[in-house]
Protein backbone atom coordinates (compact mmCIF):
# COMPACT_ATOMS: atom_id res chain seq x y z
CA UNK A 1 0.00 0.00 0.00
CA UNK A 2 1.06 3.54 -0.28
CA UNK A 3 3.77 4.98 1.85
CA UNK A 4 2.74 7.66 4.27
CA UNK A 5 4.44 10.34 2.23
CA UNK A 6 3.17 13.91 2.37
CA UNK A 7 0.40 14.37 -0.13
CA UNK A 8 0.69 17.35 -2.49
CA UNK A 9 -1.19 20.05 -0.64
CA UNK A 10 -4.12 21.75 -2.31
CA UNK A 11 -4.50 24.48 0.28
CA UNK A 12 -1.79 26.44 -1.42
CA UNK A 13 -4.30 27.83 -3.87
CA UNK A 14 -5.50 30.46 -1.41
CA UNK A 15 -2.45 32.73 -1.34
CA UNK A 16 -2.32 32.54 -5.13
CA UNK A 17 -5.86 33.76 -5.42
CA UNK A 18 -5.27 36.53 -2.89
CA UNK A 19 -2.21 37.76 -4.73
CA UNK A 20 -3.89 37.62 -8.10
CA UNK A 21 -6.83 39.57 -6.77
CA UNK A 22 -4.56 42.19 -5.26
CA UNK A 23 -2.76 42.58 -8.55
CA UNK A 24 -6.04 43.01 -10.42
CA UNK A 25 -7.02 45.73 -7.98
CA UNK A 26 -3.73 47.50 -8.53
CA UNK A 27 -4.22 47.30 -12.26
CA UNK A 28 -7.72 48.68 -11.97
CA UNK A 29 -6.45 51.86 -10.36
CA UNK A 30 -4.97 52.98 -13.63
CA UNK A 31 -7.96 52.37 -15.85
CA UNK A 32 -9.13 55.00 -18.30
CA UNK A 33 -12.12 57.27 -17.71
CA UNK A 34 -15.34 56.59 -19.51
CA UNK A 35 -15.69 57.37 -23.18
CA UNK A 36 -17.01 60.57 -24.67
CA UNK A 37 -20.67 61.28 -24.95
CA UNK A 38 -21.39 62.89 -28.30
CA UNK A 39 -25.05 63.73 -27.77
CA UNK A 40 -26.67 67.08 -27.24
CA UNK A 41 -24.32 69.01 -29.51
CA UNK A 42 -26.63 69.70 -32.44
CA UNK A 43 -29.01 72.63 -32.87
CA UNK A 44 -27.03 75.28 -31.00
CA UNK A 45 -26.35 77.54 -33.95
CA UNK A 46 -26.71 80.66 -31.88
CA UNK A 47 -24.12 80.20 -29.17
CA UNK A 48 -24.37 83.62 -27.61
CA UNK A 49 -28.10 83.46 -27.02
CA UNK A 50 -28.41 80.32 -24.94
CA UNK A 51 -26.13 78.74 -22.37
CA UNK A 52 -23.77 76.24 -23.99
CA UNK A 53 -24.29 72.57 -23.45
CA UNK A 54 -22.64 69.32 -24.49
CA UNK A 55 -19.32 67.61 -24.50
CA UNK A 56 -16.16 68.76 -26.20
CA UNK A 57 -13.63 66.04 -26.83
CA UNK A 58 -10.15 67.49 -27.08
CA UNK A 59 -7.15 65.51 -28.27
CA UNK A 60 -3.92 67.30 -27.56
CA UNK A 61 -0.22 66.70 -27.97
CA UNK A 62 1.51 65.38 -24.87
CA UNK A 63 3.42 68.64 -24.44
CA UNK A 64 0.10 70.45 -23.96
CA UNK A 65 -0.98 68.31 -21.03
CA UNK A 66 -0.65 70.88 -18.24
CA UNK A 67 -1.83 73.92 -20.19
CA UNK A 68 -4.92 72.17 -21.59
CA UNK A 69 -5.83 70.78 -18.18
CA UNK A 70 -5.91 74.40 -17.03
CA UNK A 71 -7.90 75.54 -20.10
CA UNK A 72 -10.40 72.74 -19.55
CA UNK A 73 -10.99 73.78 -15.94
CA UNK A 74 -11.34 77.47 -16.79
CA UNK A 75 -13.66 76.79 -19.69
CA UNK A 76 -15.85 74.40 -17.74
CA UNK A 77 -16.16 76.91 -14.94
CA UNK A 78 -17.28 79.56 -17.40
CA UNK A 79 -19.71 77.16 -19.09
CA UNK A 80 -21.17 74.80 -16.48
CA UNK A 81 -23.23 72.98 -19.13
CA UNK A 82 -20.18 71.85 -21.05
CA UNK A 83 -17.95 68.93 -20.30
CA UNK A 84 -14.48 69.00 -21.79
CA UNK A 85 -12.86 65.63 -22.17
CA UNK A 86 -9.16 65.62 -22.86
CA UNK A 87 -6.84 62.92 -24.12
CA UNK A 88 -3.12 63.39 -24.51
CA UNK A 89 -0.61 61.48 -26.61
CA UNK A 90 1.97 61.90 -29.30
CA UNK A 91 0.65 64.05 -32.14
CA UNK A 92 1.13 61.27 -34.66
CA UNK A 93 -0.85 58.83 -32.52
CA UNK A 94 -3.68 61.31 -32.08
CA UNK A 95 -3.86 62.00 -35.81
CA UNK A 96 -3.96 58.32 -36.52
CA UNK A 97 -6.71 57.82 -33.97
CA UNK A 98 -8.80 60.52 -35.63
CA UNK A 99 -8.20 59.03 -39.07
CA UNK A 100 -9.39 55.72 -37.68
CA UNK A 101 -12.62 57.27 -36.46
CA UNK A 102 -11.89 58.30 -32.89
CA UNK A 103 -14.58 60.77 -31.77
CA UNK A 104 -12.91 64.17 -31.42
CA UNK A 105 -14.20 67.73 -31.50
CA UNK A 106 -10.87 69.50 -31.41
CA UNK A 107 -7.31 68.36 -31.95
CA UNK A 108 -4.26 70.38 -30.97
CA UNK A 109 -0.92 69.26 -32.38
CA UNK A 110 2.76 69.89 -31.84
CA UNK A 111 3.86 71.30 -35.16
CA UNK A 112 2.01 71.89 -38.38
CA UNK A 113 3.80 68.96 -40.00
CA UNK A 114 2.05 66.58 -37.65
CA UNK A 115 -1.29 67.61 -39.13
CA UNK A 116 -0.39 66.49 -42.64
CA UNK A 117 -1.59 62.88 -42.38
CA UNK A 118 -4.92 64.11 -41.02
CA UNK A 119 -7.90 63.35 -43.22
CA UNK A 120 -8.58 66.83 -44.68
CA UNK A 121 -12.28 66.13 -45.15
CA UNK A 122 -12.67 66.13 -41.36
CA UNK A 123 -11.06 69.55 -40.88
CA UNK A 124 -13.43 72.48 -40.34
CA UNK A 125 -10.84 75.08 -39.36
CA UNK A 126 -7.14 75.39 -38.51
CA UNK A 127 -5.44 78.13 -36.47
CA UNK A 128 -2.00 78.33 -34.88
CA UNK A 129 -2.18 79.17 -31.20
CA UNK A 130 1.30 78.72 -29.76
CA UNK A 131 4.91 78.10 -30.55
CA UNK A 132 7.40 75.97 -28.75
CA UNK A 133 11.12 75.51 -28.99
CA UNK A 134 13.29 72.57 -28.10
CA UNK A 135 15.26 72.52 -24.92
CA UNK A 136 17.59 70.08 -23.25
CA UNK A 137 16.14 68.65 -20.05
CA UNK A 138 18.69 67.33 -17.55
CA UNK A 139 18.28 65.94 -14.02
CA UNK A 140 18.67 68.67 -11.37
CA UNK A 141 22.00 67.10 -10.36
CA UNK A 142 23.05 67.29 -14.04
CA UNK A 143 25.34 64.24 -13.71
CA UNK A 144 26.82 64.66 -17.17
CA UNK A 145 27.52 68.37 -16.69
CA UNK A 146 25.61 69.54 -19.75
CA UNK A 147 25.67 73.25 -20.48
CA UNK A 148 25.19 73.38 -24.24
CA UNK A 149 24.00 71.25 -27.12
CA UNK A 150 27.60 70.31 -27.95
CA UNK A 151 27.91 68.54 -24.60
CA UNK A 152 25.39 65.97 -25.80
CA UNK A 153 28.01 64.56 -28.15
CA UNK A 154 30.44 63.82 -25.32
CA UNK A 155 31.23 60.16 -24.83
CA UNK A 156 29.08 58.34 -22.30
CA UNK A 157 26.29 60.88 -22.17
CA UNK A 158 22.96 59.09 -22.37
CA UNK A 159 20.51 61.01 -24.46
CA UNK A 160 16.84 60.19 -24.86
CA UNK A 161 14.77 61.64 -27.68
CA UNK A 162 11.30 61.11 -29.07
CA UNK A 163 10.72 58.50 -31.75
CA UNK A 164 11.36 59.58 -35.34
CA UNK A 165 7.65 59.35 -36.01
CA UNK A 166 6.56 62.06 -33.57
CA UNK A 167 7.16 65.85 -33.95
CA UNK A 168 9.62 66.25 -31.09
CA UNK A 169 11.66 63.40 -32.53
CA UNK A 170 11.72 64.95 -35.99
CA UNK A 171 12.65 68.34 -34.53
CA UNK A 172 15.40 66.85 -32.40
CA UNK A 173 16.83 65.12 -35.43
CA UNK A 174 16.82 68.42 -37.34
CA UNK A 175 18.56 70.14 -34.44
CA UNK A 176 21.32 67.54 -34.25
CA UNK A 177 21.88 67.91 -37.98
CA UNK A 178 22.11 71.69 -37.75
CA UNK A 179 24.50 71.49 -34.81
CA UNK A 180 26.49 68.78 -36.62
CA UNK A 181 26.57 66.46 -33.64
CA UNK A 182 25.88 62.73 -33.26
CA UNK A 183 24.81 62.20 -29.64
CA UNK A 184 24.65 58.84 -27.91
CA UNK A 185 20.91 58.27 -28.17
CA UNK A 186 19.95 55.35 -25.93
CA UNK A 187 16.22 55.36 -26.51
CA UNK A 188 13.59 56.80 -28.80
CA UNK A 189 10.54 57.18 -26.62
CA UNK A 190 7.00 57.04 -27.89
CA UNK A 191 6.19 60.62 -26.87
CA UNK A 192 7.76 63.65 -25.26
CA UNK A 193 6.44 62.91 -21.76
CA UNK A 194 8.02 59.44 -21.85
CA UNK A 195 11.34 61.02 -22.85
CA UNK A 196 11.05 63.53 -20.02
CA UNK A 197 10.21 60.77 -17.55
CA UNK A 198 13.53 59.08 -18.23
CA UNK A 199 15.29 62.28 -17.16
CA UNK A 200 13.02 62.74 -14.13
CA UNK A 201 14.02 59.24 -13.04
CA UNK A 202 17.65 60.19 -13.74
CA UNK A 203 18.00 57.16 -15.97
CA UNK A 204 19.04 59.39 -18.83
CA UNK A 205 21.52 62.27 -18.68
CA UNK A 206 19.54 64.43 -21.06
CA UNK A 207 16.40 64.49 -23.15
CA UNK A 208 15.46 66.69 -26.06
CA UNK A 209 12.03 68.02 -25.13
CA UNK A 210 10.08 71.22 -25.50
CA UNK A 211 10.71 74.29 -23.40
CA UNK A 212 7.11 73.96 -22.17
CA UNK A 213 7.84 70.48 -20.84
CA UNK A 214 10.75 71.78 -18.82
CA UNK A 215 8.50 74.50 -17.38
CA UNK A 216 5.78 71.99 -16.60
CA UNK A 217 8.20 69.60 -14.89
CA UNK A 218 9.08 72.37 -12.41
CA UNK A 219 11.89 71.26 -10.09
CA UNK A 220 12.06 67.71 -11.39
CA UNK A 221 14.32 68.71 -14.28
CA UNK A 222 16.57 71.58 -15.26
CA UNK A 223 16.44 73.16 -18.71
CA UNK A 224 19.48 73.88 -20.82
CA UNK A 225 18.53 76.21 -23.71
CA UNK A 226 19.47 75.37 -27.27
CA UNK A 227 20.86 78.21 -29.33
CA UNK A 228 18.44 79.73 -31.78
CA UNK A 229 20.51 78.84 -34.84
CA UNK A 230 20.25 75.13 -34.05
CA UNK A 231 16.79 75.20 -32.65
CA UNK A 232 13.54 74.38 -34.36
CA UNK A 233 10.41 76.35 -33.67
CA UNK A 234 7.20 74.39 -33.78
CA UNK A 235 3.91 76.09 -34.52
CA UNK A 236 1.04 74.48 -32.70
CA UNK A 237 -2.15 74.30 -34.72
CA UNK A 238 -5.59 73.79 -33.21
CA UNK A 239 -7.89 72.04 -35.62
CA UNK A 240 -11.64 72.13 -35.24
CA UNK A 241 -13.26 68.88 -36.28
CA UNK A 242 -16.80 69.28 -34.92
CA UNK A 243 -19.27 71.90 -35.96
CA UNK A 244 -21.15 72.35 -32.72
CA UNK A 245 -21.30 75.53 -30.71
CA UNK A 246 -19.50 74.20 -27.67
CA UNK A 247 -16.54 73.05 -29.71
CA UNK A 248 -16.31 76.34 -31.56
CA UNK A 249 -16.59 78.17 -28.25
CA UNK A 250 -13.75 76.16 -26.81
CA UNK A 251 -11.50 76.98 -29.79
CA UNK A 252 -12.50 80.62 -29.57
CA UNK A 253 -11.63 80.64 -25.88
CA UNK A 254 -8.25 79.06 -26.62
CA UNK A 255 -7.50 81.76 -29.19
CA UNK A 256 -8.76 84.57 -26.97
CA UNK A 257 -6.34 86.71 -25.02
CA UNK A 258 -7.08 84.85 -21.81
CA UNK A 259 -6.63 81.49 -23.48
CA UNK A 260 -3.36 82.41 -25.13
CA UNK A 261 -2.09 83.87 -21.84
CA UNK A 262 -2.91 80.60 -20.11
CA UNK A 263 -1.01 78.61 -22.69
CA UNK A 264 1.94 80.99 -22.57
CA UNK A 265 2.06 80.78 -18.79
CA UNK A 266 3.12 77.17 -19.31
CA UNK A 267 6.19 78.12 -21.30
CA UNK A 268 4.81 78.38 -24.82
CA UNK A 269 5.54 81.26 -27.15
CA UNK A 270 3.04 83.51 -28.91
CA UNK A 271 1.72 82.17 -32.21
Amino acid sequence: MSLAHPAPARRRLLPVVVAAFAAVLLAGCGSAPSSADGTGQRGWSDASAAPLQGTVTVLAAASLTESFDQLKNDFERAHPGVTVETSYGSSSTLVQQVDNGAPASVIALAGTAAAEPLDKSLVKDTKNFATNVLEIAVPPSNPAGITSIDDLAKAGVKVVVCADTVPCGKAAHATFTKARIVPNVVSKEVDVKAALAKVKLAEADAAIVYHSDVVAAKDAVTGVPIERRYNTTLHYPVITLADDAASRAFVAYLLSETGLATVQSFGFGAP
Partner: protein
Protein backbone atom coordinates in the same frame (compact mmCIF):
# COMPACT_ATOMS: atom_id res chain seq x y z
CA UNK B 1 8.12 -8.14 22.18
CA UNK B 2 10.54 -9.18 24.85
CA UNK B 3 14.23 -9.18 24.14
CA UNK B 4 17.00 -10.69 26.13
CA UNK B 5 19.74 -8.25 26.91
CA UNK B 6 22.72 -10.58 27.02
CA UNK B 7 23.39 -11.18 23.30
CA UNK B 8 22.79 -8.27 20.89
CA UNK B 9 20.96 -9.38 17.81
CA UNK B 10 22.31 -8.63 14.34
CA UNK B 11 19.39 -6.34 13.58
CA UNK B 12 18.47 -4.38 16.66
CA UNK B 13 15.90 -1.65 16.16
CA UNK B 14 13.65 0.35 18.43
CA UNK B 15 11.78 2.80 16.27
CA UNK B 16 10.14 5.64 18.16
CA UNK B 17 8.63 8.65 16.45
CA UNK B 18 5.37 10.53 16.09
CA UNK B 19 3.78 10.75 12.71
CA UNK B 20 0.41 12.37 12.27
CA UNK B 21 -1.95 11.14 14.96
CA UNK B 22 -0.01 8.10 16.07
CA UNK B 23 3.03 7.59 18.24
CA UNK B 24 5.04 4.73 16.89
CA UNK B 25 7.11 2.57 19.22
CA UNK B 26 8.13 -0.64 17.50
CA UNK B 27 11.02 -2.93 18.39
CA UNK B 28 12.38 -5.39 15.86
CA UNK B 29 15.32 -7.75 16.03
CA UNK B 30 16.56 -10.57 13.86
CA UNK B 31 19.56 -12.60 12.78
CA UNK B 32 20.90 -12.76 9.20
CA UNK B 33 18.70 -14.78 6.87
CA UNK B 34 15.55 -14.20 8.86
CA UNK B 35 12.33 -12.77 7.43
CA UNK B 36 10.28 -10.67 9.84
CA UNK B 37 6.65 -10.35 8.84
CA UNK B 38 5.11 -7.12 10.07
CA UNK B 39 1.31 -7.21 10.13
CA UNK B 40 -1.33 -4.84 11.31
CA UNK B 41 -4.26 -2.70 10.31
CA UNK B 42 -3.73 0.17 7.90
CA UNK B 43 -2.52 3.37 9.51
CA UNK B 44 -1.11 1.47 12.45
CA UNK B 45 2.53 2.42 11.91
CA UNK B 46 3.90 -0.39 9.73
CA UNK B 47 4.97 1.86 6.88
CA UNK B 48 6.30 4.49 9.24
CA UNK B 49 8.53 1.82 10.77
CA UNK B 50 9.80 0.80 7.34
CA UNK B 51 10.48 4.41 6.30
CA UNK B 52 12.43 4.97 9.51
CA UNK B 53 14.51 1.86 8.84
CA UNK B 54 15.12 3.11 5.28
CA UNK B 55 16.18 6.55 6.50
CA UNK B 56 13.38 8.40 4.75
CA UNK B 57 12.06 9.34 8.19
CA UNK B 58 14.18 10.01 11.26
CA UNK B 59 13.43 8.46 14.62
CA UNK B 60 13.03 10.78 17.57
CA UNK B 61 14.16 8.20 20.11
CA UNK B 62 15.48 4.67 20.11
CA UNK B 63 18.12 3.00 18.01
CA UNK B 64 18.57 1.37 14.65
CA UNK B 65 21.65 -0.81 14.56
CA UNK B 66 22.55 -3.27 11.80
CA UNK B 67 25.58 -5.45 12.45
CA UNK B 68 28.22 -3.20 13.99
CA UNK B 69 26.84 0.00 12.52
CA UNK B 70 24.38 2.44 14.09
CA UNK B 71 22.09 3.84 11.41
CA UNK B 72 20.09 6.15 13.62
CA UNK B 73 20.15 6.86 17.33
CA UNK B 74 17.61 9.66 17.33
CA UNK B 75 20.16 12.39 16.81
CA UNK B 76 22.56 11.61 13.96
CA UNK B 77 20.71 9.60 11.32
CA UNK B 78 22.50 8.23 8.29
CA UNK B 79 20.95 9.35 5.00
CA UNK B 80 19.18 6.60 3.05
CA UNK B 81 22.05 6.43 0.56
CA UNK B 82 24.49 5.80 3.43
CA UNK B 83 22.58 2.76 4.64
CA UNK B 84 22.93 -0.71 3.15
CA UNK B 85 19.21 -1.00 2.63
CA UNK B 86 16.92 -2.24 -0.14
CA UNK B 87 13.37 -0.96 -0.51
CA UNK B 88 10.55 -2.46 -2.54
CA UNK B 89 7.05 -1.04 -2.55
CA UNK B 90 3.62 -2.12 -3.65
CA UNK B 91 3.56 -0.38 -7.02
CA UNK B 92 7.07 -1.61 -7.96
CA UNK B 93 7.88 2.06 -8.72
CA UNK B 94 10.36 1.25 -11.44
CA UNK B 95 11.94 4.31 -13.05
CA UNK B 96 9.71 4.53 -16.12
CA UNK B 97 12.35 6.06 -18.40
CA UNK B 98 14.93 3.30 -17.78
CA UNK B 99 15.00 -0.25 -19.10
CA UNK B 100 14.63 -3.16 -16.69
CA UNK B 101 18.39 -3.62 -16.85
CA UNK B 102 19.16 0.03 -16.10
CA UNK B 103 16.61 0.03 -13.29
CA UNK B 104 18.48 -2.83 -11.62
CA UNK B 105 21.87 -1.29 -12.45
CA UNK B 106 20.79 2.06 -10.94
CA UNK B 107 21.75 1.03 -7.40
CA UNK B 108 25.27 -0.21 -8.20
CA UNK B 109 25.83 2.84 -10.47
CA UNK B 110 24.72 5.18 -7.67
CA UNK B 111 27.15 3.44 -5.36
CA UNK B 112 30.06 4.06 -7.65
CA UNK B 113 30.30 0.83 -9.64
CA UNK B 114 31.34 1.43 -13.26
CA UNK B 115 28.76 1.03 -15.99
CA UNK B 116 29.92 -2.32 -17.35
CA UNK B 117 30.18 -4.05 -14.01
CA UNK B 118 26.91 -2.54 -12.84
CA UNK B 119 25.18 -3.94 -15.91
CA UNK B 120 26.79 -7.34 -15.42
CA UNK B 121 25.52 -7.36 -11.88
CA UNK B 122 22.07 -6.23 -13.02
CA UNK B 123 21.95 -9.02 -15.61
CA UNK B 124 22.82 -11.56 -12.94
CA UNK B 125 20.09 -10.21 -10.63
CA UNK B 126 17.50 -10.28 -13.41
CA UNK B 127 18.52 -13.84 -14.15
CA UNK B 128 17.91 -14.82 -10.53
CA UNK B 129 14.31 -13.60 -10.78
CA UNK B 130 13.89 -15.29 -14.16
CA UNK B 131 13.84 -12.15 -16.28
CA UNK B 132 17.19 -12.32 -18.07
CA UNK B 133 15.41 -12.15 -21.41
CA UNK B 134 13.50 -8.97 -20.52
CA UNK B 135 16.55 -6.84 -19.69
CA UNK B 136 15.94 -4.45 -22.59
CA UNK B 137 12.24 -4.00 -21.89
CA UNK B 138 10.93 -0.75 -20.56
CA UNK B 139 8.78 -1.01 -17.42
CA UNK B 140 5.54 -0.41 -19.30
CA UNK B 141 6.23 -3.42 -21.51
CA UNK B 142 6.36 -5.69 -18.45
CA UNK B 143 3.42 -7.32 -16.67
CA UNK B 144 2.75 -6.25 -13.10
CA UNK B 145 4.26 -9.48 -11.81
CA UNK B 146 7.39 -8.99 -13.89
CA UNK B 147 7.62 -5.39 -12.67
CA UNK B 148 7.51 -6.63 -9.08
CA UNK B 149 10.30 -9.11 -9.81
CA UNK B 150 12.43 -6.36 -11.42
CA UNK B 151 11.80 -4.18 -8.37
CA UNK B 152 12.99 -7.03 -6.13
CA UNK B 153 16.08 -7.53 -8.29
CA UNK B 154 16.76 -3.80 -8.12
CA UNK B 155 16.45 -3.74 -4.32
CA UNK B 156 18.87 -6.67 -4.00
CA UNK B 157 21.46 -5.51 -6.54
CA UNK B 158 23.18 -3.31 -3.95
CA UNK B 159 23.72 -6.22 -1.53
CA UNK B 160 21.64 -4.61 1.21
CA UNK B 161 22.05 -5.82 4.77
CA UNK B 162 18.41 -5.00 5.36
CA UNK B 163 15.71 -5.63 2.76
CA UNK B 164 12.44 -3.75 3.28
CA UNK B 165 9.39 -5.05 1.43
CA UNK B 166 6.31 -2.88 1.97
CA UNK B 167 3.26 -4.77 0.71
CA UNK B 168 5.27 -6.08 -2.24
CA UNK B 169 2.36 -8.14 -3.60
CA UNK B 170 -0.56 -5.86 -2.74
CA UNK B 171 -0.91 -4.37 -6.22
CA UNK B 172 -1.02 -7.72 -8.03
CA UNK B 173 -4.11 -9.64 -9.13
CA UNK B 174 -4.68 -12.94 -7.25
CA UNK B 175 -3.16 -15.28 -9.86
CA UNK B 176 -0.05 -13.20 -10.39
CA UNK B 177 0.16 -12.74 -6.67
CA UNK B 178 0.37 -16.48 -5.98
CA UNK B 179 3.10 -16.97 -8.59
CA UNK B 180 5.05 -13.90 -7.53
CA UNK B 181 4.78 -15.00 -3.91
CA UNK B 182 6.56 -18.26 -4.69
CA UNK B 183 9.18 -16.40 -6.79
CA UNK B 184 9.71 -14.10 -3.84
CA UNK B 185 10.01 -17.03 -1.42
CA UNK B 186 12.62 -18.62 -3.69
CA UNK B 187 14.67 -15.44 -3.98
CA UNK B 188 14.47 -14.65 -0.25
CA UNK B 189 15.71 -18.15 0.61
CA UNK B 190 18.99 -17.29 -1.13
CA UNK B 191 19.28 -13.88 0.57
CA UNK B 192 21.51 -13.72 3.63
CA UNK B 193 20.47 -10.36 5.07
CA UNK B 194 17.46 -9.55 7.20
CA UNK B 195 14.14 -9.03 5.45
CA UNK B 196 11.33 -6.95 6.88
CA UNK B 197 8.13 -7.81 5.08
CA UNK B 198 5.15 -5.54 5.70
CA UNK B 199 1.86 -7.04 4.69
CA UNK B 200 -1.75 -7.24 5.67
CA UNK B 201 -2.19 -10.59 3.94
CA UNK B 202 -1.77 -13.42 6.48
CA UNK B 203 -0.90 -15.80 3.66
CA UNK B 204 2.13 -13.68 2.68
CA UNK B 205 3.23 -13.58 6.28
CA UNK B 206 2.75 -17.29 6.98
CA UNK B 207 4.45 -18.47 3.79
CA UNK B 208 7.34 -16.01 3.69
CA UNK B 209 8.15 -15.02 7.27
CA UNK B 210 9.73 -16.99 10.06
CA UNK B 211 8.93 -14.39 12.69
CA UNK B 212 5.77 -12.29 12.94
CA UNK B 213 5.31 -8.88 14.56
CA UNK B 214 1.84 -7.34 14.87
CA UNK B 215 1.72 -3.56 15.03
CA UNK B 216 -1.50 -1.83 16.04
CA UNK B 217 -1.82 1.86 16.89
CA UNK B 218 1.93 2.20 16.75
CA UNK B 219 2.53 -0.50 19.35
CA UNK B 220 3.61 -4.12 19.02
CA UNK B 221 0.66 -6.21 20.21
CA UNK B 222 2.13 -9.62 19.56
CA UNK B 223 5.36 -11.13 18.29
CA UNK B 224 6.42 -14.70 17.78
CA UNK B 225 6.80 -17.56 15.35
CA UNK B 226 3.88 -18.20 12.99
CA UNK B 227 3.05 -21.38 14.96
CA UNK B 228 2.85 -19.46 18.24
CA UNK B 229 0.71 -16.75 16.77
CA UNK B 230 -1.61 -19.19 15.05
CA UNK B 231 -2.32 -21.11 18.22
CA UNK B 232 -2.38 -18.29 20.73
CA UNK B 233 -3.50 -14.96 19.27
CA UNK B 234 -3.28 -12.14 21.75
CA UNK B 235 -5.33 -9.33 20.23
CA UNK B 236 -8.65 -9.06 18.46
CA UNK B 237 -6.87 -8.13 15.25
CA UNK B 238 -4.53 -11.11 15.45
CA UNK B 239 -7.53 -13.33 16.18
CA UNK B 240 -9.18 -12.12 12.99
CA UNK B 241 -5.99 -12.62 10.99
CA UNK B 242 -5.56 -16.21 12.11
CA UNK B 243 -9.29 -16.87 11.82
CA UNK B 244 -10.19 -17.72 15.41
CA UNK B 245 -12.96 -16.44 17.67
CA UNK B 246 -10.99 -14.80 20.45
CA UNK B 247 -12.25 -13.62 23.85
CA UNK B 248 -10.56 -11.90 26.72
CA UNK B 249 -12.04 -13.06 30.00
CA UNK B 250 -11.66 -14.34 33.56
CA UNK B 251 -11.28 -18.08 34.03
CA UNK B 252 -11.85 -20.27 37.11
CA UNK B 253 -10.66 -23.75 38.06
CA UNK B 254 -13.96 -25.34 37.00
CA UNK B 255 -13.45 -24.42 33.38
CA UNK B 256 -15.79 -21.42 33.29
CA UNK B 257 -14.65 -18.34 31.43
CA UNK B 258 -16.61 -15.10 31.87
CA UNK B 259 -15.90 -12.89 28.83
CA UNK B 260 -15.55 -9.12 29.02
CA UNK B 261 -18.98 -8.76 27.37
CA UNK B 262 -20.61 -10.97 29.98
CA UNK B 263 -20.79 -14.14 27.94
CA UNK B 264 -20.02 -17.54 29.50
CA UNK B 265 -17.75 -20.07 27.83
CA UNK B 266 -17.06 -23.55 29.21
CA UNK B 267 -13.83 -25.37 28.54
CA UNK B 268 -12.21 -28.65 29.48
CA UNK B 269 -8.78 -27.01 29.71
CA UNK B 270 -9.24 -24.55 32.54
CA UNK B 271 -6.86 -21.67 33.20
CA UNK B 272 -7.33 -19.43 36.20
CA UNK B 273 -7.21 -15.65 36.20
CA UNK B 274 -7.06 -13.40 33.17
CA UNK B 275 -7.22 -15.56 30.12
CA UNK B 276 -7.65 -15.61 26.38
CA UNK B 277 -10.16 -18.14 25.09
CA UNK B 278 -10.31 -19.29 21.46
CA UNK B 279 -13.02 -21.08 19.54
CA UNK B 280 -12.31 -22.26 15.96
CA UNK B 281 -15.21 -21.23 13.69
CA UNK B 282 -15.33 -24.76 12.30
CA UNK B 283 -16.12 -26.06 15.80
CA UNK B 284 -19.32 -24.04 16.00
CA UNK B 285 -22.50 -25.90 15.05
CA UNK B 286 -25.83 -24.16 14.46
CA UNK B 287 -29.25 -25.49 15.44
CA UNK B 288 -32.81 -24.28 15.07
CA UNK B 289 -33.72 -25.66 18.50
CA UNK B 290 -31.86 -25.82 21.76
CA UNK B 291 -29.36 -28.66 21.33
CA UNK B 292 -29.50 -31.62 23.70
CA UNK B 293 -26.74 -33.92 24.86
CA UNK B 294 -22.98 -33.50 24.83
CA UNK B 295 -22.14 -29.84 23.94
CA UNK B 296 -21.43 -27.92 27.11
CA UNK B 297 -21.70 -24.57 25.36
CA UNK B 298 -24.95 -23.41 23.81
CA UNK B 299 -25.87 -19.77 23.14
CA UNK B 300 -29.00 -18.13 21.85
CA UNK B 301 -27.81 -15.94 18.96
CA UNK B 302 -29.11 -14.05 15.94
CA UNK B 303 -27.53 -14.26 12.46
CA UNK B 304 -25.92 -10.93 11.57
CA UNK B 305 -24.17 -11.89 8.34
CA UNK B 306 -23.62 -14.79 5.97
CA UNK B 307 -20.69 -14.84 3.53
CA UNK B 308 -19.67 -17.60 1.17
CA UNK B 309 -16.15 -18.96 1.14
CA UNK B 310 -15.63 -21.78 -1.34
CA UNK B 311 -17.72 -24.74 -0.25
CA UNK B 312 -18.46 -23.35 3.17
CA UNK B 313 -20.10 -20.28 4.62
CA UNK B 314 -19.03 -17.99 7.42
CA UNK B 315 -21.93 -16.94 9.61
CA UNK B 316 -21.56 -13.90 11.84
CA UNK B 317 -23.56 -14.26 15.06
CA UNK B 318 -24.55 -11.83 17.82
CA UNK B 319 -26.34 -12.55 21.08
CA UNK B 320 -25.20 -14.20 24.30
CA UNK B 321 -21.76 -14.34 22.66
CA UNK B 322 -20.53 -12.71 19.48
CA UNK B 323 -18.85 -15.30 17.31
CA UNK B 324 -18.28 -16.54 13.80
CA UNK B 325 -19.30 -20.01 12.69
CA UNK B 326 -18.06 -21.86 9.66
CA UNK B 327 -20.71 -24.25 8.31
CA UNK B 328 -21.23 -26.20 5.12
CA UNK B 329 -23.34 -24.80 2.32
CA UNK B 330 -25.72 -27.76 2.83
CA UNK B 331 -26.52 -26.64 6.37
CA UNK B 332 -27.13 -23.11 5.17
CA UNK B 333 -29.85 -24.40 2.87
CA UNK B 334 -31.10 -27.14 5.17
CA UNK B 335 -31.47 -24.86 8.19
CA UNK B 336 -32.57 -21.86 6.10
CA UNK B 337 -29.89 -19.64 7.63
CA UNK B 338 -30.72 -16.02 6.81
CA UNK B 339 -29.69 -12.75 8.32
CA UNK B 340 -31.94 -11.88 11.25
CA UNK B 341 -32.86 -15.44 12.10
CA UNK B 342 -32.57 -16.61 15.71
CA UNK B 343 -30.62 -19.84 16.16
CA UNK B 344 -28.66 -21.79 18.73
CA UNK B 345 -24.88 -22.01 18.50
CA UNK B 346 -23.19 -24.99 20.16
CA UNK B 347 -19.51 -25.71 20.82
CA UNK B 348 -17.99 -28.72 22.60
CA UNK B 349 -16.03 -27.76 25.68
CA UNK B 350 -13.07 -29.72 24.33
CA UNK B 351 -12.81 -27.30 21.38
CA UNK B 352 -12.32 -24.25 23.60
CA UNK B 353 -8.67 -23.41 24.37
CA UNK B 354 -7.62 -21.04 27.11
CA UNK B 355 -4.23 -19.54 27.93
CA UNK B 356 -3.07 -16.77 30.25
CA UNK B 357 -3.49 -13.21 29.12
Amino acid sequence: MSRTAESPRWLDARVRLSRGAIDVDVALSAEPGQVIGVLGPNGGGKTTTVLALAGVLQISEGLIRVGERVWDDGSRPLAPEERAVGLMLADSLLFPHLSALDNVAYGPRSRGVDRRRARDRARAELDRVGLADRARSSPRELSSGQQARVALARALATDPQLLLLDEPLAALDPDTRARTRSDLAGRLAAYDGVTVLVTHDPLDALTLADHLVFVEDGQVTQAGTPAEVLSEPRSAYVGTVVGLNLYAGQGDSHGHVRTADGGLVVTTSPTEGSVWATIPPSAVSLHLHEPEGSPRNAWRVRIASVTMQGQSARVGLVGDLALTAEVTLESVTALGLQVGRDVWAAVKATEVRTYPR
